[in-house]
């Protein structure tokens, strides 16, 4: 059984996926039902529950939303890490907007990194993706956030960085 702290933790994960409080609660409720039905007493219930939520979210939301396609070349390994996200400074008031701007997978990565403190390798394991794919997504997310929300000075540095690449 999940205690209050764990339920809140799971709720935050749900929120990071759907960026809406009501939808997050619905997602958590549905996932909990599935978890309870599974009759599994796993050693890592919380980890298993993250997977249940993830699959439930895919079932409920991702099918309805437009898939964000990533150009093939960006799938290649890019020498970036989640730490590169740390260099981004944003205006505090923009956090909600950024979350809404990002796609669900990007938000999920952001949640694992910022809230759960996972490494790139751990995030890749949670998402069942190659580490290179996760890194390319982080790189892309960083670009998108900077382009959309940073001031002109940051934009210029981003532009230079892209040229170097």
């Amino acid at each position: 059984m999940f205690d209050q702290a764990e339920l809140n933790r799971l709720y935050r994960f749900c929120y990071s996926l759907v960026v809406n409080e009501t939808a997050a609660y619905d997602l958590l409720q549905n996932s909990l039902e599935k978890f309870l039905k599974s009759d599994k007493n796993k050693e890592n219930n919380l980890g298993f529950m993250y997977q249940v939520i993830r699959h439930q979210f895919i079932d409920d939301y991702r099918k309805q939303s437009k898939q964000h396609t990533i150009p093939f070349e960006e799938q290649d390994y890019i020498d970036f890490d989640v730490k590169t996200l740390e260099s981004i400074s944003i205006n505090e008031d923009l956090t909600q907007q950024i979350l809404e701007y990002l796609d669900p997978l990007e938000r999920e990565i952001l949640f694992y990194w910022a809230v759960e403190g996972y490494t790139t390798q751990q995030i890749a394991e949670m998402l069942a993706m190659p580490k290179g794919t996760v890194l390319s997504k982080i790189y892309r997310m960083r670009q998108r956030i900077k382009q959309q929300f940073n001031d002109p000075q940051d934009q210029a540095s981003l532009h230079n960085e892209a040229h170097k690449k």
Binding site: A24, Q29, E33, I88, E92, F111, A114, I145
Partner: protein, 203 residues
């Protein structure tokens, strides 16, 4: 105010929490499920084991019946065989009123004839003996006369071969006679010290 993305996201998401009503609902849902699981688990076990139990019961009933059936058949067969034999009153091969006087003649037997504990052989009623067979197994028959009733009794003895007499009742194997009435005669059969005895007398 500007701050790192990580810190902002962390702070922003950590502000999100379930209301007390939502928490209560989720905790209650879990508790209910676990309580239900605990309460129905023994029933679930019984239900899942039930088919095996039923099959076991059916099989055991079937086999016990078939053993009973075959025992009855075997007992019946022996009873009828010894009854027919008894009625023919074939000539005795040796006449003696003691078992000790009879035994030396029967040197072709694979067993040593015994005086059963269930029935007393006395000098007064033993007439003699002859070779015979029961279900194909060489046997000895002792003929006696009950002078009180003027009725002839025959006691059959043969080696108790479990392969031949498979399915013979356990009680009879332990010396408690199996009684079968056939052709107006009473046949008692029992096993004692590795010998199958059959005693037949007219009613």
């Amino acid at each position: 105010m500007k701050q790192s993305l990580k810190h902002s996201v962390q702070q922003h998401l950590n502000k999100k929490s379930l209301s007390s009503q939502q928490l209560k609902q989720l905790l209650l849902r879990q508790e209910k499920k676990y309580r239900l699981r605990k309460s129905y688990l023994p029933w679930f076990k019984i239900v899942s084991v039930a088919p095996f139990l039923m099959v076991s019961v059916v099989l055991s009933v079937y086999f016990s019946n078939s053993v009973f059936f075959s025992t009855q058949t075997l007992g019946q067969r022996i009873a009828e065989e010894v009854a027919n034999n008894h009625l023919k009153l074939k000539p005795l091969e040796v006449n003696s009123n003691t078992l000790e006087g009879i035994i030396p003649y029967f040197d072709q037997l694979d067993f040593s004839p015994l005086s059963p504990s269930f029935f007393t052989l006395s000098k007064q009623n033993l007439l003699g003996a002859r070779y015979c067979s029961i279900q194909g197994v060489t046997a000895l028959q002792l003929r006696m006369m009950d002078y009180k009733t003027d009725k002839i009794q025959t006691l059959y003895e043969t080696e108790y071969d479990k392969k031949v007499f498979m399915g013979f009742p356990k009680t009879a194997e332990e010396g408690k006679p199996l009684t079968i009435y056939v052709k107006g005669m009473k046949v008692d059969m029992w096993v004692e010290k590795g010998i199958l005895f059959a005693l037949i007398e007219s009613l």
